[in-house]
Symmetry: C2
Subunit: 884 residues, 2 copies
C-alpha cells in the first residue's frame, strides 16, 4: 500500500521519525519515534503539516485523494489493533489530535473515542462488560465533538448534565447509572439536532472526516492566529493531524493501566518506580478513586502494602515492561516517564517523555548515567536544571516534620531557619550575641538593619517583594527570608507580632521556609545540605565546559570565604557602603555627612580610612590571586542618617551638633526619588574627598597583601564619559601618590557600572575611559522599565499573572528590553575598545536564564551572591554547551 | 608673481574666497571674502590647510618652497601697506593666526606685532610719536612669542612684570614709563636667553618662520588632539596660517579706531550706530579709560554729548564708512558689527560679522529687511532666534525703573510681577479673590498648590530647579516664577519670609523678574508686551514655512483659550489629574482612593463623572475642529492624599473614615520612588474602573459638542504592548457602550506616551496597538539619564558647569542619549505602522533645539505650554527651513 498523503505508524510500519516535527507535528513525530524503535504503540496514521495548505486551497475541505488514502490508513489501524471501525461487536475507536511543529494552545487539541455511535456503543459495552463506561464514553464523545468539531457552546451540554444530576439527586457524575447516561446521550443528540439542524453523525467515517477537517480549520481560528502573532509562528507552517487507535485498560482482569518512571524521580535510584490499576482507565489512576498498586514486589514490600504488585499479578507483561525500560533509556538516554495500558493482556505504550525529578534525583541520575556510559559529562551538565541546585545548598525543612503554618509570604531567599521573634535589629544583635537563634521580623528592612539581619538566622518582613532590600540582602547572606507576608503586622509598643488574630510576643519561636514562603509556629526540624559526592562531581564537569568566569558579590570576610568555598573566581562587586554601617564607622560617616565644609568632611574621612583599609585588606587576603572589583560609594547620603527623632538626638550628641542642625540636614538631604537622586558618581563628583579616601584605602590595602592583587576600581551610576573621566582622574592621582609614598606600584584597572540606559547607549564613548564594564542590571532594569524595585510589589505580581512580563524582571532579565541595551553596550564598548572586559553584577548574575543571555553577549564573567555561585557555574556551563 | 603655496589678499589681489574654509581656514576665508568685495582689509596672505600635512611630512619643518614663496607674500603686504618688514624707520608689523575649518580652542591662536626687534621698535616709536606704546608692544610681543612659539612658561614673564611694578610702586601697567618698559624688554630677552640658550630672534623673517611653524605644530598639540577627539574632527583636516599687516589707530590725529553696527542693535532702527576714538587703539575703546565718541551727528545731539562725532571730525572717512555699510548689508544681507581702524587718514576694516541684537531689534530688522527686498521671508524667519521671543510674550520690568534686589534665584518662568507676599495657597486664593495681586512664596510647591499658583501673579520658591513642579506649572500657566532662591526661608508660625537678615511679613510687596531670577523689594514698574505688528508678520511667515504642527499642553479653559490665541493647532496633552484637585472633586477623588473595594471606588467615581465630562466638554468646545489628546490618569494615588495630620483629620471627617484608617492608607501608598512607582497604566490596570469613568466622560463630552471632535485617548507609562492592549480594550468597550446609548458614534484614536526606555526599544510591537505615539520626554529623560527632576537641583548646575551635560537635559533634550531612544521609537514604530502619528508633549516640546531635533525625526507635531506656542511655531519653521 504505497502511502503519499498520510504516514502510518505502529504494527511494524516503517518509521517516519526522520521526517521530523516540521512534517509530522510534535505529537506525530513522537509517536513515530516510539513506534520506530519497536515499542508497542497503538497503531495510527499522521496526515502531515503539508496537507494543511492543501485543505485551505481546496476551499476548506479535505482533498479527495486524502479521503481515499484515509481508507487505507484506517485499514492499517484495524489490522494491527484487531478491531473494526464501525463494528457493532468489536468496534475500533480512534483519537484525532492536532499537532503543530511547536505546541500551540490556540488550536483544537483532541477528540477521543471517535467511532462511537448508537450501534458501536453497544459493542463497547459488551466488550468491556461495562455499559456505564460505554455510555459515559459516548456522551463525552458527543460533547467533545459538538464543541470542537461542530462549534456548539459546551454550556449547552453541561447544563443538560447538571439538570440530570439535579433530577437524580446526584452530586458526582459517578453517581449516574448507565441508563441515566443513555438518556443523556439522547438529550445530547437532540441538542445537536436543534443547534445544527442535522442529526449527530452516526457514520464513523463522516465523524472522522469532520474531526480531521476541524483540526485543519482550527489552524486559522482567531485564537490560534493571536497565539501565532504573539509567538512569531509563521502561518504557513500548518498543523498535522494524528489519528490513532484507542486502547482500553478496563476490558476486564487481563487489562490494566499505569504510569512508570525508569528511575526513582525522588531519589534518582535506578529502580522501576510507578503505579498501576487492573481493569481501569488512565484517569482512574490519577483521580484517586481507587488506590493504585505498586509495580514492583520490592516497592510493595517496602511500603508494607497488600495489593499485588504488577510484578506479581501480571508477571509476563511486567517483564515485557521492564525490558522496555532498558530499551527506552538506551534510546532516549534519559530517565523516562511512561504511560501504558494493557488491553486484554497486550501491552501498549501511550506516551514516553523525559521524567521530571527532584534536584537530588537529577544530580544522582546525571552522575550514574555518566558512570553507566549512557551519557557524556557535557550531557550530564545539561541534565540538572541550574536553578534547582538552590534546593541543595541550604538547610531545608525535614519533609516528615509537622508544620503549623501561620502565614504565607513570598519565598524571598531559600533555606529554612527557626528562632525567637525579635522586632528590631538591635535586639537581634544583642540576643544573638548570647547564642540565641533569632528571626528578625520587620515591616520592611533598610540598610540600617544589615547588622541585625546578619545576626539573625532568618528574616521575615510584612512588606516588599522578591527583590526588596530584605530579599536581596538575605540572599546575599545566605539567610532564609520570607518577604511581603501580607497577613502580619507589628505592634512595636506592645512588642507583639500579629498574624491574623494570633498575637505572638517577641521571643516566641517561629520557623521560616524561605523556599515556600511559609511561616510556621514553633521549631520545625531541618535537614543539612550535602555538598560533596555527586554535587562536587557535577561542579567539576561544569567548570570544564564553562567559558564565562563566575565571581561573587561580596564585601565581608564571611561572604568572601563562602564565595571561595563555592568556587567563586573573584569578587565582581564589593559594595563599600555596607562597610559604612559598622558600629565603629557609622559615627564617622555621619560626622562626614553633617560636616559643614570640606575640612570637617576630610577630618571625618581620615578617621574612616583605617577601617576601610582594613576591610579591603581582609578581602584581598581571602581572594588572593583573584580579581576583586570594588565599587566606590554608591547610595545617597541620607541612607546613613537616622529618620527617627530619638536617633537624631543620639547623632546630635555623638557629633556635637544641635538636634535642629541634624534635623535640618536630614530634611535637606530628603529626596523625592532617591533611586534617581544624588548618588553614585554624582556624589563622588560633589565630594571628591570621598573618592580620595576610598582610593587611598584600596591601594594601601592592596600593597599590604604579599601575594599580589590587581584591584578593579568601579565607578557607579555613570551616564556620560565625562563623569567617569572626572572620577578616574582622582583615582589615578591618588594611586600615584600611594605608590610614590610606598616606593612601589601595582597594576590596577578603572571601570564603570553600566546601569543607566544612557550609559548603555553611549558605551562607545564611555569605553574610551573604562577598562571594564559591569552591568548593574538591577538599576538598569529599574530605569529601563521605569519600575522602582522597592515599590514594584504593589503591581508586579499582577503584571506577571497577566502575562505583561513573563517573569519578575528583577529576578530574570527582561531580555527584550533591558537585554537590548546590554547588547548595545557590549557591541559599542567592544568596538571602541576590543580589550574591554565585560561582566554583570546585578542580582540577575545568579539567574540561569540571564546567564544564558550573558553567554550570547560574550560577557567575560557573571557575578552573583556567594550562595548562588554553584548555580551560576552550572548555568554558565550549560549556556556554553548550548552555544556549541 | 604666480602663487601656489600661499594665497595673498587685500590691495586688489584676486579673491580666493571660493576656496572656502576647508582650504583657507575660518579666518582666512573671512578675510578673503571681505577683500573680495573690495573692502579695505589690511593686506596679508594665507597658507592653506593643505600645507599642514606637508609640514609634518617634512619632519615638522616648513618646506623650502614655502619659505621661498613667503618672500613674495611679504613683498605683497609691503607694497599694499606701504611699509617695510624689518625697516628701522617705517617698519611693517604683522599678525600670525591659526585657522582651522572650524574654530578650535585647543590650538595656538594669534601672535601680534611680529616684526618688532631692537631696531624696528625705534621706528614704531618715532612713527607713532609714542615710545611707551612702542616698548609696550615689544614687551608684549616677546611674552606672546615666548609663550606660544618658544614654549616658555608665561609665568616667567608675568613674574618679572610684577617685580618691576613693585619696584616702581605701580599698581597698574599703565603707570610704567617707556623707560621702565624698555628695561623690562631687556629682562624678557634675558629670560629667553636663559631658558632657551639662545637670544630672542632679532631677524623678523626668522620670527615669522618660527610663528608659522608654531601654528602648524599646535595642530598636533595634546590639547588640540583632545579637543578633536571630543568633537569628532579628523586630524587630516589640518590648519591654515594667516599672516596679515598690523594697522594702528594711534598714529596721531588723523588716526582713529572704532566699532559700528549698520543698524541699531537695541531697537533695530536702520541708522548707523557705534563709537570711535581718535589716536587710539581698539583696546582703548573697550577699556573705558577714555570716553568713546559717537559716530553720527544725530546720535551725538540726541545724547547731548559734546565731543565731536566722527561725521564731524573726519567727514571724508565717515562718508567712506557709511558707503561701506550699504555695501556690507547688500553683500551679507544682514546687520553687521564692524571693527575699523583709520591709520593716517586711511580706513581699514579689521572684521565684520553678523551683529548681535535684542529680540525686539531682531524682529524689526527682519521685517524691514523683507520690506527693503534685502531678504526673503524664509530668511527673515531664520533671523530671529526662537528662544528670545519669550522676552516679547510676557510683561517685563521697565528697564528704567529702579530695582532693590533682595535675592536671586533661578529664572524659572519668564515675565515680571509684583504683589503681596502670601505663604500658602489658601491665603493666595482668598486674598486674590478680593482683587489683590499676590505672590505665592513656598518652600516648594506640590500639586495641592495648583489653585494658589493660579490665583497668584507670580511664584517664588526656596527649593527646586528649572524643572521643579513650581517651574513647570508656572511656565504652563504663563506666571513668572523664581525657583530655588537659596537665601530665603519661611517662618510659618510667625508668617514671615526671611531673606538673609531681612524679615518681610506676609502682605509685604515684592516684585519677581522671572527672566533674571531677581526678587525685588516693593513694586517695580513693568512694560506690557506687544503681540501685533512685526511679531504677527513674522508668525505668519513662520507658519508658511513650517512642516510640524504645534499643539499646546493645556487642560483648563483658560489655558486652552491662551493656546488658541497663540496659534496652537490642538491640544497635545490634557493632564486629567490636574482636574482632580478642584475643591468640588478632590473629596470624591479621596473617597475613591480610600474606598475599601471596587464598589465603593465605583460609587466615588460616579460622582466624579459629571465634573470630568464638563471639563472635557469645555476643552472640546474651545478647541472645536482641532485634535485634542487626553491622557488618562497618570500620577500615583498618594499625590491626592494629604501628608499633614490636620489635613488627614479633615479628610477623615469628609469621608466618614477613622483618622487611623486614613493614616494607614496614606502609609500604605507611600512609595520609595514614586516616579517609578504604581502610576500611569499600572494604576489603570489595577483600577480599570478609573479608565471606565474617564473614557465615559471623554466620549459623552465629545458627543455633546456639535462641531465635531476626534478625541485622542492617551495611555501613560506603557512599557509593553500588553499593557496598552489591556487598557485599550477597556477604552474600546466603553466607547462602544457610550455610542450605543447615544445612537451615534465618532472617530477616535487610542495611543500611548513613549516615556520609558523600554517603550522606545519595543516601539515596533507597541505600534501594533497604538495609533499614535507622544514622546513624554520629561520622564524619558528621567529614566534614560537616571535623574529625578525633583532632586536634580543638588547637582545639575554643577554638572552643566563641568560640561558633563552641555545644557540642563530637562530644558533641552539630551540628543545623544534620550534622542537615540526617540529615534529608535520613531523608526521602529513607523516600520510597524507607517500611518503612526508622532508627537512630543514633554517640556522639551517648547525648546528650539529640541524642536530642531524633532524635525530631523520627522515628528508630526510638537506640544508645549500655551505661552511657548509662538516660540515653537517659529522654531518649527526654522527647523523645516534648515532641512531644505
Amino acid at each position: 500500500m504505497p502511502q503519499r498523503l498520510l504516514i502510518p505508524f505502529g504494527g511494524g510500519a516503517p518509521s517516519a521519525h526522520h521526517l521530523g516535527k516540521a512534517h509530522l507535528g510534535g505529537k506525530g513525530a513522537n509517536l513515530a519515534e516510539m513506534a520506530g524503535i519497536g515499542l508497542p504503540v497503538p497503531p495510527g496514521f499522521t496526515i502531515p503539516t503539508t496537507l494543511c495548505a492543501l485543505y485551505y486551497e481546496a476551499g476548506a475541505r479535505l482533498p479527495d485523494a486524502l479521503l481515499a488514502e484515509m481508507v487505507g490508513g484506517l485499514a492499517h489501524i484495524e489490522t494491527v489493533a484487531g478491531m473494526e471501525f464501525g463494528s457493532a461487536t468489536n468496534p475500533l475507536l480512534v483519537s484525532v489530535r492536532s499537532g503543530a511543529r511547536v505546541s500551540m494552545p490556540g488550536m483544537m487539541d483532541t477528540v477521543l473515542n471517535l467511532g462511537l455511535n448508537d450501534s458501536t456503543v453497544e459493542g463497547l459495552a459488551s466488550r468491556s462488560g461495562n455499559p456505564r463506561f460505554a455510555w459515559d464514553s459516548y456522551r463525552r464523545f458527543i460533547q467533545m465533538y459538538g464543541d470542537v468539531v461542530l462549534g456548539l457552546d459546551h454550556y449547552l451540554f453541561e447544563d443538560a448534565l447538571e439538570i440530570l444530576k439535579d433530577d437524580k439527586g446526584a452530586t458526582l457524575d459517578t453517581q449516574l447509572t448507565a441508563d441515566d447516561l443513555k438518556g443523556l446521550v439522547a438529550q445530547y443528540q437532540a441538542i445537536v439536532q436543534k443547534e445544527t439542524g442535522k442529526p449527530f453523525p452516526q457514520d464513523p467515517r463522516a465523524q472522522l472526516e469532520g474531526a480531521v477537517g476541524a483540526v485543519f480549520g482550527s489552524w486559522r481560528s482567531e485564537r490560534a492566529a493571536v497565539y501565532r502573532r504573539l509567538n512569531d509562528i509563521p502561518e504557513d507552517w500548518g498543523t498535522a493531524v494524528t489519528v490513532q487507535a484507542m486502547v482500553f485498560g478496563n476490558m476486564g482482569e487481563t487489562s490494566a493501566t499505569g504510569v512508570a518512571f525508569t528511575r526513582n524521580p525522588a531519589t534518582g535510584e535506578r529502580a522501576i518506580y510507578g503505579e498501576y490499576l487492573i481493569n481501569a482507565q488512565g484517569e482512574d489512576v490519577v483521580a484517586g478513586i481507587r488506590t493504585p498498586q505498586y509495580l514492583t514486589l520490592a516497592a510493595r514490600e517496602q511500603a508494607g502494602a497488600k495489593a499485588a504488585s504488577m510484578e506479581e499479578a501480571m508477571p509476563d507483561v511486567f517483564a515485557e515492561l521492564a525490558r522496555m525500560f532498558a530499551q527506552l533509556e538506551l534510546h532516549y538516554r534519559d530517565c523516562q516517564d511512561i504511560e501504558f495500558t494493557v488491553q486484554e493482556g497486550k501491552l501498549w505504550l501511550l506516551q514516553t517523555r523525559s521524567g521530571k525529578r527532584t534536584a537530588k534525583a537529577a544530580l544522582r541520575m546525571a552522575c550514574e548515567m555518566v558512570d553507566e556510559g549512557l551519557i557524556q559529562t557535557d550531557e550530564a551538565v545539561l541534565r540538572v536544571e541550574a536553578s534547582v541546585l538552590d534546593q541543595l545548598l541550604h538547610p531545608t525543612l525535614d519533609p516528615k516534620a509537622e508544620r503549623k503554618v501561620l502565614a504565607v509570604g513570598l519565598p524571598a531567599s531559600p533555606g529554612a531557619a527557626s528562632g525567637a521573634i525579635v522586632l528590631d535589629s538591635e535586639t537581634a544583635h544583642t540576643r544573638a550575641a548570647t547564642g540565641e537563634d533569632v528571626i528578625l521580623v520587620r515591616l520592611e528592612t533598610s540598610p540600617e538593619d544589615i547588622a541585625g539581619m546578619h545576626a539573625a538566622r532568618g528574616i521575615l518582613t510584612a512588606r516588599g517583594g522578591m527583590t526588596s532590600h530584605a530579599a536581596v540582602v538575605a540572599r546575599g547572606m545566605g539567610r532564609p527570608c520570607v518577604s511581603g507576608a501580607g497577613g502580619i503586622s507589628i505592634d512595636n509598643d506592645r512588642r507583639i507580632l500579629r498574624i491574623g488574630n494570633r498575637e505572638l510576643p517577641e521571643g516566641a519561636i517561629i520557623t521560616l521556609d524561605g523556599a515556600s514562603g511559609e511561616v510556621m509556629e514553633g521549631r520545625v526540624a531541618t535537614v543539612e545540605p550535602e555538598l560533596s559526592g555527586d554535587f562536587a562531581r557535577l561542579m567539576i564537569w561544569a567548570d570544564g565546559h564553562r567559558r564565562m568566569k563566575v565571581r561573587a558579590n561580596a564585601e565581608t570576610p564571611e561572604d568572601c570565604t563562602t564565595a571561595r568555598r563555592f568556587g567563586a573566581e573573584g569578587v565582581g562587586l564589593a559594595r563599600t557602603e555596607h562597610m559604612f554601617f559598622g558600629a565603629d564607622r557609622i559615627v564617622h560617616v555621619r560626622a562626614m555627612i553633617l560636616g559643614a565644609d570640606e575640612t570637617s568632611r576630610r577630618a571625618a574621612l581620615a578617621k574612616l580610612l583605617p577601617a576601610q583599609r582594613a576591610d579591603f585588606e581582609a578581602i584581598f587576603r581571602i581572594m588572593e590571586g583573584l580579581p576583586v572589583t570594588i565599587r566606590l560609594l554608591d547610595p545617597p547620603l541620607h541612607e546613613f542618617l537616622p529618620q527617627r527623632e530619638a536617633e537624631m538626638e543620639e547623632v546630635a550628641a555623638e557629633t556635637g551638633l544641635s538636634v535642629a542642625a541634624v534635623k535640618r540636614r536630614v530634611a535637606d538631604l530628603h529626596e523625592a526619588n532617591p533611586m534617581l537622586g544624588h548618588r553614585g558618581c554624582r556624589l563622588l563628583i560633589s565630594y571628591p574627598e570621598i573618592v580620595e579616601m576610598q582610593t587611598r584605602a584600596i591601594f594601601e590595602a592592596a600593597l599590604a597583601v604579599p601575594g599580589g592583587v590587581e584591584p578593579e576600581v568601579m565607578v557607579p551610576l555613570v551616564a556620560t564619559r565625562r563623569e567617569l573621566e572626572i572620577v578616574k582622574a582622582i583615582i589615578d592621582r591618588v594611586a600615584g601618590e600611594v605608590f610614590e609614598a610606598a616606593g612601589r606600584s601595582l597594576t590596577y584597572h578603572v571601570g564603570t557600572m553600566i546601569e543607566l540606559p544612557r550609559a548603555a547607549l553611549r558605551a562607545g564613548e564611555i569605553a574610551g575611559a573604562a577598562e571594564f564594564f559591569s552591568f548593574g542590571t538591577n538599576d538598569l532594569t529599574q530605569t529601563t522599565l521605569g519600575i522602582s524595585r522597592d515599590d514594584a510589589g504593589r503591581f508586579l505580581g499582577e503584571y506577571v499573572d497577566a502575562g505583561i512580563y513573563p517573569r519578575d524582571p528583577f529576578v530574570s532579565l527582561d531580555v527584550e528590553g533591558v537585554g537590548e541595551l546590554v547588547q548595545f553596550a557590549a557591541e559599542r564598548g567592544k568596538a571602541a575598545r576590543p580589550a574591554l572586559k565585560l561582566g554583570i553584577c546585578g542580582e540577575h548574575g545568579g539567574d540561569p536564564a540571564t546567564i544564558d543571555f550573558c553567554e550570547t553577549q560574550r560577557l567575560d564573567y557573571v557575578s552573583c551572591s556567594p550562595w548562588r555561585v554553584p548555580i551560576a557555574r552550572l548555568a554558565a556551563a550549560q549556556a556554553a554547551l548550548r552555544r556549541k
